[in-house]
């Protein structure tokens, strides 16, 4: 680019990028800084709660109850205390049991349903899909009372469902409206040629679903699994309802909220426990960032 220097006089044949006048440059710089400074301030505001929580988690109980902000000394033992002073591992176990079983159930049951809505043709398909959407929009509180009654009265072989996590896990094995919606939207984008080619080869629909579609829809299925896991990991209302009075079956969200009754709100331990509960999700996020962002994008853009 021998002729494209800033000081060269403009010439009919060459295009020269001239530096814009200083006033314009300064204004543009100010705009950039202004944009970024607001972002930076917001970023600090977003991170601040984490930092405060972390500081409190490292304080002694008396310090946590005072207005001091910097822990002195650093009580790293708080993190181990959480495990000894409360049945933290039990809660972790229960939460994982719930999340893993529910996630597997959601994926296994929602994929065929979504496929039926997307790629199979049958009468009333679109009307039924609206019904799925309607189910999505209604708050769970609308059906929670009769469901509770149902589980309370159902005693196969003398087994009590109330007090366990099964009433919360089992419905996930029968399809989840949000996952069905998401998967269906994605399946719609799979070109019919792939499926027709497989059909010509003699594959039955089940085989097509299992081999062709699942492989093509891996990002969507991964997103659904991720969201189900996240949602069930954080679930509070339904576990509260069914296991609220049975502390042996508490999940992490309930354990955390009840930490105060056990220990008179020892805020330092409560904040340490809060960090421990947030940590795995955040770690998983960093490891699977792309899947997260893709999944979230899929939800919104295809929705």
């Amino acid at each position: 680019m021998t002729s494209a220097t800033a000081t060269a006089t403009p010439d009919a044949t060459t295009f020269v990028r001239r530096k814009p006048p200083r006033a314009v440059r300064r204004r543009r710089l100010l705009v950039i800084v202004a944009d970024h400074s607001l972002l930076i301030a917001l970023a600090i505001a977003f991170l601040a709660p984490f930092i405060f929580i972390a500081f409190t988690a490292l304080m002694s109980n008396d310090q946590a109850l005072s207005a001091r902000m910097w822990p002195h000394p650093f009580e790293w033992s708080n993190f181990t205390d959480v495990f000894t002073k409360a049945p933290f591992m039990t809660w972790v176990g229960n939460t994982l049991e719930y999340s893993i079983l529910a996630t597997i159930g959601v994926v296994v049951s929602s994929v065929p349903v979504a496929y039926a809505f997307a790629k199979l043709h049958w009468r009333g398909r679109d009307a039924m899909f609206i019904v799925v959407l309607v189910a999505l929009m209604l708050p769970p509180q609308v059906t929670v009372v009769p469901l509770y009654v149902m589980w309370a009265k159902f005693h196969p072989f003398g087994f009590n469902f109330i007090g366990t996590l099964w009433p919360v896990i089992i419905p996930n094995w029968f399809g989840d409206a949000f996952s069905i919606f998401l998967l269906r939207q994605f399946f719609l984008t799979i070109p019919d040629e792939y499926l027709d080619a497989a059909r010509v080869d003699g594959c039955g629909e089940v085989r097509i679903l299992v081999t062709v579609v699942t492989r093509l829809a891996k990002p969507a299925i991964a997103a659904v699994a991720l969201f189900s896991f996240l949602y069930t990991f954080n679930d509070f209302f339904l576990p509260l309802l069914y296991t609220g009075e049975n502390s042996g079956h508490w999940v992490l969200s309930i354990g955390l909220s009840e930490f105060r009754s056990l220990h008179q709100v020892q805020w330092n331990l409560t904040m340490a426990a809060t960090l421990l509960v947030m940590a795995p999700v955040i770690i998983v996020f960093f490891l699977a960032q792309r899947a997260f962002v893709e999944g979230v994008t899929l939800t919104g853009v295809k929705g």
């Binding site: 109850l65 009590n160 109330i162």
Partner: protein
């Protein structure tokens, strides 16, 4: 013929004898595992477990598993799900109306009759809050009474000789004892009247004014009984003197009620309205605190009420659909009527023993602070809150009204109380369901 009649009579005698033996004090022969749910936790739970361990030792065919930290919600949920334990205990009697009315806790009268336990063994106040509509589904297991705790050091510093006996003395002393910091914040409060702070709830206050909740038909009379208006006005003037937001800030800055940094125990509160159990807590956490106890002050216009207090207490019962009713009843009987057990529990928890006999037991360790509360318990003016089908929602509604009043959100007190009465009556009829008297 005659032989047949004699045989029949003999058979009847044998049957009656066998059934009474089955319902008598002896626990069933097979080893039974019982579970009992109680509200206590931490140190207090340890005291209860010790007493139960003694029962275990003396009854080798029964092992009792104690579960603590139970509240009424958990009891309700368990009974509804059919997963209730053999024996349940609740910290207070608010929900007796629902427990007895719905049959969730079984009627103890037949069991009591079989064991020759008469309700007269228990003082009248405790008899009231363990039954509903004539059905006795609970027995009292130690009672709570409320009185005034005051810090003698702070009193001496302020030059106050003795505890206040009337409400105006209480307000005056509270103002004298309060220390504010330079920016108006309360650093030491003479007395915190805030409804919602520690044990401050309307039902515990209104006894000092002789207030009544319901008329003979069970309708709420808070608007008609002048005691309520008098109390609420007195109360608000003290809250306003402190400043509403100053009290909120004070509360947010002091320690938890049941921790060692309790405001009274830590010297941040000169006088406190608290239950008799606080004696044991202070003994365990701050034995060097120089304090004394007295009955709550009363309305200036009713000095004859002085010495009374609010009574409530732990209740114990047997949920329905239990499998080991006989063994459960044996345990309940032991805990509620055995003077030795009651004395031990009383000594450890510093709760008031609930039979007339155990109250006089020589095993009770004398304690000047605690003696105040036994006197309050035996005072004939001491009362409790009403038992209704609405359970704890009844007193909760009044508490919500009082908190709105102290925040200044009620413009016309009389109109507000009239509306509150209507709401309380509607609440009770809704809880009973229409068509039920």
């Amino acid at each position: 013929m005659r032989r047949m009649r004699w045989a029949a009579v003999l058979a009847c005698v044998v049957v009656v004898g066998a059934s009474s033996a089955a319902g008598s004090d002896a626990a069933p022969a097979a080893p039974t595992k019982l579970t009992i749910w109680v509200g206590w936790s931490a140190r207090e739970l340890g005291v209860f477990k010790q007493v139960v361990a003694e029962y275990d030792k003396n009854n080798p065919n029964v092992t009792v598993n104690v579960v603590g930290s139970i509240n009424d919600n958990k009891i309700v949920a368990a009974i509804r799900a059919g997963a209730a334990p053999d024996v349940v205990s609740s910290f207070n009697s608010y929900n007796v109306g629902t427990f007895c009315g719905s049959g969730g806790w079984i009627n103890l009268a037949p069991l009591m009759a079989q064991s020759h336990i008469s309700a007269a063994m228990f003082p009248p106040a405790t008899r009231y809050y363990t039954q509903y509509n004539g059905v006795r589904c609970a027995l009292p297991l130690l009672a709570d009474t409320y009185g005034l705790y005051y810090n003698k050091d702070l009193f001496a510093k302020a030059g106050i000789k003795g505890p206040p006996k009337t409400m105006s003395e209480l307000a005056a002393d509270a103002k004298k004892l309060t220390v504010r910091s330079s920016n108006g914040k309360i650093s030491v409060a003479g007395f915190d009247p805030f409804i919602g702070f520690y044990e401050n709830t309307p039902e515990r206050w209104i006894t000092s004014f002789g207030g009544k909740w319901q008329d003979a038909k069970g309708n709420a009379i808070l608007a008609q009984d002048p005691a309520w208006t008098k109390w609420l006005n007195w109360h608000k003037s003290l809250v306003d003197w402190y400043g509403y937001s100053n009290l909120v800030k004070f509360q947010a800055g002091v320690g938890q009620e049941f921790s060692a940094s309790n405001a009274f125990e830590a010297g941040k509160l000169a006088m406190n309205f608290d239950g008799e159990w606080r004696v044991a807590f202070i003994q365990a956490e701050h034995p060097n605190l120089n304090y004394a106890t007295a009955p709550m002050p009363v309305d200036d216009a009713h000095p004859e009420l002085y010495g009374q207090g609010y009574i409530n207490g732990t209740i114990i019962g047997i949920p329905k659909n239990g499998k080991n009713t006989a063994a459960a009843w044996a345990l309940v009987k032991y805990l509620t009527t055995n003077s030795h057990a009651l004395a031990e529990l009383s000594n450890g928890l510093r709760n008031v023993p609930t039979t007339s006999a155990s109250g006089r037991s020589p095993e009770i360790k004398p304690d000047a602070h605690f003696a105040t509360f036994i006197k309050i318990f035996n005072n004939m003016h001491s009362t409790t809150s009403p038992i209704t089908a609405a359970g704890v929602s009844y007193t909760n509604l009044v508490q919500q009204f009082a908190t709105k009043w102290q925040a200044g959100q009620v413009k016309n007190l009389q109109a507000g109380l009239t509306q509150l009465d209507k709401q309380l009556d509607a609440l009770v009829s809704q809880a009973k369901g229409p068509g039920v008297p």
